[in-house]
């Protein structure tokens, strides 16, 4: 193992916002992993809500971006607001998108209703929809993933 190379890799990981790095080549494998903020600070994750959450917890609530990388090359399209998820423009109408659909940037993928206003959620990138994560009519939090999708860039 070339220690200089290892040091280099560590520096790259530390300088990035990644949590882990795993490299495999020519029979060698290196896996490096950061302390998570939670591990460093041990906030009270163990305090669970006795009555459970009102709605599923957003998996990435720090999302400032609509789309977030998943490990497997997929991204998620997250809710830009708290409200009610609608897959189609009106009851009985077909959904805006279905798994397998190719979606262009600015194309509407769903509606979030908040205070009686229908807010159209659009894709920012060209993607293929993989999975719809939320049922029609289901309440969603800010930042909650609505779809997984495969970027087409």
């Amino acid at each position: 193992m070339d220690l200089g190379e290892l040091q280099e890799l560590i520096k790259i990981l530390e300088g990035s916002q990644l949590a882990e790095m795993e490299i495999e080549e020519e029979g060698r494998r290196v896996r490096l992993s950061k302390l998570t903020a939670a591990q460093m600070a041990a906030p009270m994750h163990f305090l669970t809500n006795p009555a459970g959450q009102a709605v599923p917890t957003a998996q990435n609530p720090d999302a400032q971006e609509q789309s977030n990388l998943r490990g497997n090359g997929l991204i998620t399209i997250d809710s830009p607001m708290v409200g009610t998820f609608y897959a189609s423009s009106a009851p009985g109408k077909p959904p805006f998108v279905l798994p397998g659909d190719t979606v262009e940037p600015n194309q509407t993928v769903c509606i979030i209703e908040a205070m009686k206003i229908m807010n159209e959620v659009t894709a920012k990138l060209p993607v293929i929809i993989e999975k719809v994560l939320v049922e029609n009519g289901e309440p969603v939090e800010y930042g909650q993933p609505l779809f997984t999708a495969r970027p087409l860039i």
Partner: protein
Amino acid sequence: MFRRLLIANRGEIAVRIIRACREMGITSIAVYSTADRDSLHTVLADESICIGPAEANESYRNIPAIIAAAEITDAQAIHPGYGFLSESAKFASICLECRLAFIGPNPKTLSLSGDKAACRKAVEAAGVPVVPGSPGIIQDPEEAVKIAEKIGFPLVVKATHGGGGKGMRIAHNDATLKHDVAMAASEARAAFGNGGVYLEKYIEGARHIEFQIVADQFGRIVSLGERECTIQRRHQKLIEETPSTALSASLRSRMAKAALRAARAIGYTNVGTVEFLLSPNGQYYFIEFNARIQVEHGVTEEVTGIDLVREQIRLAAGEPLGYSSVIPRGAAIEARIYAEDPELNFRPSPGIIKRCHIPGGPGIRVDTHLFPGYEVSRYYDALLAKVIARGKNRQEAIARLVGALEEFLTDGVSNTARLATRIVRGDRFRRGDIGPDLLEEYLPSIG
């Protein structure tokens, strides 16, 4: 009574409201920004829901997000806490339109109490002394000069929609007055969207005394006594106590009656505070309402035994007050601890609280949202904790407060606990010789 209540706030007051809900058997629903995902209110509430990013305008001040959160969680009522949307007449009326009970006064009262010049007029008309000043909004700088001739300098130029010291200037002579009026008006327009300003005489050496009132929807209104809040730095209160050492029994009774008259004049319901200035010669003047729960409500709770947050919820649900007068017992003092560095001109000190020790024992109550691992965010208010001591008299409360403040420890952020300790241990505070100049003695001299 409500079964499900949404709390449109964060920090210690959200925790306080959750506790009131728990005691009342109401399901509490917390809203949180992405910065507050691990905050105490988020984890202690029965349910919680993310409503937006860290910036308060996009989350805790975001009316559509909060209403949507209330709707999808089937909340029946919204408690706004203090700050954020708590005194917004617009928010209160949207709540009502959406058939959500707003825990606070009705929108009409909030409109009036939020328009300081109009409120001052209404209260004066009810026979309550107000600080001598302009009869209403100043139309132009020349009008200000004429009024100044009548009431004399120094004068305070105040924005009618201002608050917390913003849009406020002190003028010492005609020359600066015109400039100050113009500047305050443009500041206020920028900050509050309303450039109306008015004038008040500046009362030198005045103490800041406020009365806690509770009013039901059936016309019953009761005073729960005063709080002395004179020790402030730039309109940020540091130490509050009840009873005030400034009031004789007869003055207290007269001021309480004035507070009730003022509240009736604007049709006040629910829980609120009437603020007065008390001049060194014993003359009192109404200045404004705080139409919400106050940060320092705990000292009143400790001497009256009345849970003010529970009263807010009960009264908003249409329940009647169960008493027509209350006799406070003993004394209570609160020291607020902020994540600020007194040595660096009170610069905010955000950071992660790595470890902390919260004091306790007989007579000590600490309202806080701190825990080891909590991140004090630059996005929000710097209040870390309120250390409240009660005693059978002021001396006992001081001794307990000093002990508790000495015990209070956090690392990771600078805070004002030691400053508070020095003030309450000091001779002037012990003597009850409190004035707006007291704090200066404890501030690092600006060399």
